[in-house]
């Protein structure tokens, strides 16, 4: 069994079995965590292989290469798969440790991990859609699990808006199939040059809207704050740290990888929308008091950075977008998991996460921001550099507002969180710090990712 198929083959049967078990019992939760840890280890090994030898490919079912469905791991896909599944693992352990009371929670997390692994590692547009729906459906169910009044309503709006995004994706895929006659990403990238420009622009815009909705970009953000604000911390961490990666990956893969000419046409619009996202998210976040709502608006703001990098374009900017997506996912996960807990260790971890998201060394976020600055300077765009600086400064302000609000004031009614939940937060904080102190593997992978995206169109 190839290393590429192994994570899916571990996760998928385990998810089906876990759906039968009672997730409220902690042994079930810990067993699921074990399965996820195995998947993370396998994805790590795959990432090492991809970094050393370049993309790995398998055609499912032993069919000839142009008939069967191709699984393909390149640097971008494998990095995001690794980070997303690791985020799901951290969130699951956090949920099990803080005694979540939903029967299906561990199984849904596993299904979400299956979808995430599959969509990042597939080389076929339609199987991307299938895995993507699998991950999103588990997310809809996860957000709707709670009994709180507010949660159910916001989960329904989340589901309706994102399903509309999925439908647009399907229509765009039908158009792409009609125009190029294939569903394989590499072949599409090759044939997209011959497509009628009007058709290609319509397809590119449809893809942009579909992934903009997932990512929560400025004009499509309206569903995001209430969902992030009302979901339990573990689910919010999965939404912000793992599912938001789908939007960023989709924009990078479909726009920059498959339709780069159409992307270049819309560069001005992308930079404009990205800037609007950054400013809107930051200003709204500064004005909010509830910790999780601040983080939700912060997620809208940080989606904008990816868009600005896409608009700037070129190998350096695309690498920066990939790197930023990864470190931002880790930072957001840490913040969402830490914000509702109390204690000195959690406060330190939250501070590490805040430094990372604001882009201060020695945390991992510094390299994400530094790469974006580099891209802005190389494109000789003063406006981009100023925007990044202002966005970073505002991030710093609102995150330390929450820090002060949550950790400096006494909260007498709070019981201390269970030690294992605090331990998860500490481990994620250590990972963020370690990636900041030893960033070479991540930098190498993101450079390869940028090169692979530019190189998709010969």
């Amino acid at each position: 069994m190839s290393l590429l198929v192994a994570p899916l083959m571990v996760l998928w049967p385990a998810a089906a079995v876990a759906a039968l078990g009672d997730g409220r019992r902690r042994p079930v939760g810990w067993a699921v965590a074990g399965v996820l840890a195995v998947a993370v280890a396998l994805l790590g090994a795959l990432a090492v292989r991809v970094a050393a030898d370049g993309p790995v490919e398998v055609v499912a079912g032993g069919w000839p290469a142009d008939v069967g469905i191709r699984l393909r791991a390149d640097a971008l896909g494998v990095t995001l798969a690794l980070v997303s599944v690791a985020v799901v693992l951290a969130a699951l352990v956090h949920g099990v440790a803080s005694r979540q009371s939903q029967r299906l929670f561990p199984a849904l997390m596993l299904f979400c991990a299956v979808g995430l692994t599959g969509l990042f590692l597939t080389g076929d547009v339609f199987s991307f859609y299938v895995f993507f729906e699998l991950a999103m459906m588990s997310a809809y169910a996860l957000t709707a699990l709670g009994r709180e009044r507010r949660m159910v309503g916001s989960a329904l709006i989340f589901a309706v808006v994102n399903l509309l995004g999925s439908v647009l994706f399907l229509i765009a895929t039908a158009g792409l199939y009609r125009a190029t006659g294939t569903l394989e990403m590499l072949a599409i990238a090759d044939r997209a040059r011959g497509v009628d420009p009007n058709t290609a622009v319509v397809i590119a815009v449809l893809y942009f809207v579909a992934f903009g909705v997932k990512l929560g970009l400025f004009p499509f953000h309206f569903w995001l704050p209430s969902v992030y604000g009302s979901a339990p911390p573990a689910v919010a961490a999965v939404l912000a740290g793992a599912l938001a990666n789908i939007g960023a990956y989709g924009l990078l893969r479909f726009e920059a990888g498959l339709l780069p000419r159409e992307l270049a046409l819309g560069a001005g619009v992308l930079v404009g929308l990205g800037s609007a996202s950054i400013i809107y998210g930051a200003v709204q976040a500064v004005g909010r008091r509830d910790g999780r709502e601040v983080l939700a608006y912060s997620a809208i703001g940080h989606a904008g950075y990816v868009l600005v990098a896409l608009g700037v374009g070129g190998r350096v900017a695309l690498s920066a977008a990939a790197l930023f997506t990864v470190v931002n996912a880790l930072g957001k996960t840490l913040l969402f998991l830490a914000v509702d807990l109390r204690g000195p260790m959690v406060a330190t971890a939250f501070a590490v996460g805040a430094f990372s998201v604001a882009g201060v060394p020695p945390s991992a976020g510094f390299f994400g921001k530094a790469a974006l600055f580099d891209a802005g300077i190389q494109a000789q765009s003063a406006a981009t550099v100023i925007l990044l600086f202002v966005g970073g400064a505002l991030t710093f302000v609102y995150l330390f507002q929450i820090y002060q609000h949550q950790f400096w004031r006494p909260h007498p009614e709070d019981r201390p969180a269970p030690a294992s939940a605090r331990a998860v937060v500490a481990v994620v904080a250590v990972v963020v710090l370690a990636l900041g102190l030893w960033p070479e593997p991540l930098l190498a992978l993101s450079n390869q990712a940028g090169e692979a995206l530019v190189g998709m169109v010969p």
Partner: protein, 131 residues
């Protein structure tokens, strides 16, 4: 044929989009179903070609219609079925928790929850009053 399909897709999508904007939750779900079916029809239309059924053994010389779009549509329909089931379950959940399927009533209750949040917890109000 293409024109006819385009018209049907347009009508389905338009009706679905109109229903999506209604405040009644079940109309929203039905609207989403219509939009999803419009997408399935688009997928079928993307590979529309005349020919014999793509089942082996083929009779030689005749063109074969595209089997890929049919497989994709089947998958999309199954996914659409699952999403409809999930959405109906969620809508029922909204009904049992809120005793209403009216989205305006839902957002009103959400707004009051938000105002509660804006006012801050009781302890804090005491503090500000004291100072």
């Amino acid at each position: 044929m293409n024109l006819l399909l385009a018209l049907v897709v347009a009508v389905l999508f338009g009706t679905g989009a109109t229903l999506l904007l209604k405040p009644d939750l079940f109309r929203v779900v039905v609207g989403l179903m219509l939009v999803a079916n419009a997408a399935s029809l688009t997928v079928i239309a993307s590979g529309l070609s005349r020919g014999q059924a793509p089942i082996l053994p083929l009779t030689g010389g005749e063109a074969v219609s595209d089997p890929l779009t049919q497989a994709m549509t089947l998958t999309a329909l199954i996914i659409g079925f699952a999403t409809t089931a999930l959405l109906l379950a969620m809508a029922y959940r909204v009904y049992t928790t809120h005793r209403s399927v009216d989205l305006d009533a839902l957002s009103r209750s959400e707004r009051s929850a938000e105002e509660e949040l804006e006012r801050g917890p009781a302890v804090e109000r005491e503090e500000t009053r004291a100072s």
